[in-house]
């Protein structure tokens, strides 16, 4: 199976470990992944507040480039995943918007038809590969590791194509597949604070704090997530959280990292050390 890969800005920066583990795992599973040629920023949530049409056009450029090949596009970052899907929907439902965006893209020699499918790597792992097949690759089951699955917002809402928006379960299945224990908690899809941790820390930090605190309270040794911003918020701000509320100290890993570990891939290839809160204790203590 072949896929195009849309990294987005975060996976080249703060979410580097996500890219590393994603690529390593996909390679080990025999899935071919090619980075989208000359991709640009998807526009994320911020650009939508500046210019609507342009934000559709920004995402549209990526989709137009992707359309040159008949492959699904994988967008691991939640914001990218949402924006690219939102663009497909928006351009389908609004003829006037579509006309403007298509014309603008055309003026730069780009052809947009809206035929690309934008996927999340979790969707690919669960639905294209399947849990049964994944199980065959598990060499080093993470027995005894209690994990709180954290889905965040933008993969399940509002375009939840592969999971339930109230109670998503795909990552739970993956956690079980790697032999770890899934902690049941009600905050799976509650906002991590998004960019507010940076812009309004007094508000953003509180949201992140609620999550790490509840995960720990429910007995999780680690949080596993599927979004670079969620990981950044839960992992990077724990010092500030400690200063403002209390020290929690719980590591936040990507689902691709725990899958990679269970598959026996070396930690160095999975960016395990890139966590600000070290996962070593959690991984060793099980």
């Amino acid at each position: 199976m072949k896929y195009l890969y849309f990294p987005g800005c975060s996976l080249k920066g703060t979410g580097r470990a996500y890219e590393e583990s994603f690529l390593a795992v996909f390679k080990a599973l025999g899935l071919e992944v090619r980075e989208l040629e000359d991709w640009n920023c998807c526009g994320a949530t911020a650009y939508m507040s500046v210019d609507e049409t342009k934000s559709y056009a920004l995402a549209g450029r990526n989709l137009a480039i992707a359309e040159r090949e008949d492959l699904d596009v994988i967008a691991p970052c939640s914001a990218c995943y949402l924006v690219l899907n939102k663009t497909q929907h928006g351009l389908k439902d609004n003829p006037e918007l579509r006309r403007k965006v298509v014309n603008a893209l055309k003026s730069a020699g780009l052809d947009y038809k809206g035929k690309v499918r934008v996927r999340h790597p979790l969707d690919v792992l669960i639905n294209d590969v399947g849990v049964e097949k994944l199980a065959k690759f598990i060499k080093n089951p993470l027995k005894g590791l209690k994990i709180a699955p954290y889905y965040g917002c933008q993969v399940v809402r509002p375009y939840s194509t592969f999971d339930d928006q109230y109670n998503p379960v795909t990552m739970d299945k993956l956690i079980e597949a790697v032999g770890a224990e899934c902690v049941s908690w009600p905050l799976k899809t509650r906002c991590c604070g998004g960019s507010l941790t940076g812009t309004l820390p007094e508000v953003g930090l509180k949201l992140a704090y609620i999550l790490v605190k509840e995960a720990k309270k429910r007995g999780a040794a680690a949080v596993v997530t599927l979004c670079p911003l969620c990981q950044f918020n839960l992992d990077g701000y724990q010092d500030q959280i400690a200063r403002k509320f209390e020290r929690v100290d719980i590591p936040t890993l990507y689902f691709t990292q725990i899958l990679g570990l269970a598959m026996g891939l070396p930690e160095s290839e999975l960016g395990i050390k890139r966590g600000i809160i070290s996962a070593q204790a959690a991984l060793a203590g099980r």
Binding site: C9, S10, K12, G13, T14, G15, R16, D38, W39, N40, C41, A44, T45, A46, Y47, M48, S49, V50, D51, E52, T53, K54, A57, L58, G60, R61, L97, K100, N103, A104, L105, S107, A108, L110, G152, C153, Q154, R157, P158, Q165, T189, R190, C191, G194, S195, L196, G198, T199, L200, P201, V203, L207, G236, Y237, D239, Q240, K273, R274, G275, I276
Partner: protein, 200 residues
């Protein structure tokens, strides 16, 4: 505490504003709101808002433009879409927050103490220049422009990121910047044309 008169006169409303919201993409179902408040209950940020999302919807459809555009609420929205999936009337509340933010920037009425509009603008600028966003540069730039003091509080985080190799100082850029600019400029031209036609 000074006493403040709370009455609103019909002259304070701008009915055109409500019409405008309804006409925008995402605003279609605005008028169907039954004020059940599930959006506010679902919103993880509503506890910080001056008006709950439900009240913003009501104020918008009644035409209280000033109150809506200068509220904190729209800037606190983190685009988690919880309200949108809960809304029993399928009102695209998140999209309404976006369009209100755009209008607030356009009218220059957003709350000055909030760095969020600045982030949005800088984000756009960086994309126009490089096609991609370097988070480090963006955040640095943001704090330099808004709040020096807060930036100092972030130094610890910066050091941590540097330690784990998650920070880079070189702006990432796409190859065909011209192509992207052409697309964006084509839209600018179209907008100009539209405005001209609207005037004539």
């Amino acid at each position: 505490m000074p006493l403040e008169q709370k009455v609103k006169y019909e002259g304070d409303c701008d009915p055109e504003f409500a019409k405008w919201v309804v006409g925008e993409i995402g605003g279609e179902n605005l008028r169907h709101c039954i004020q059940c408040g599930i959006c506010s209950a679902a919103c993880p940020l509503s506890l910080y808002m001056d008006y709950t999302p439900r009240r913003i919807i009501n104020l918008a459809r009644e035409g209280f433009r000033k109150e809506v555009l200068s509220s904190f609420t729209i800037w606190l929205c983190s685009s988690c879409y919880a309200c949108r999936v809960e809304c029993p009337k399928e009102i695209h509340i998140t999209d309404i927050m976006y369009l209100l933010k755009r209008r607030a920037i356009e009218e220059g009425v957003y709350p000055r103490s909030f760095p969020i509009p600045v982030l949005a603008r800088e984000f756009g600028r960086m994309i126009f220049m490089f096609g991609r966003v370097n988070e480090t540069l963006l955040v640095t730039d943001l704090f330099l422009r808004t709040n020096w003091f807060k930036f100092l509080g972030m130094i610890g985080l910066g050091l941590n990121l540097m330690r784990t190799g998650r920070m880079s100082f070189l702006p990432d850029t796409i190859k065909r910047r011209g192509e992207l600019r052409k697309v964006l400029e084509a839209l600018d031209a179209e907008e100009k044309k539209e405005k001209k036609e609207a005037l004539s």
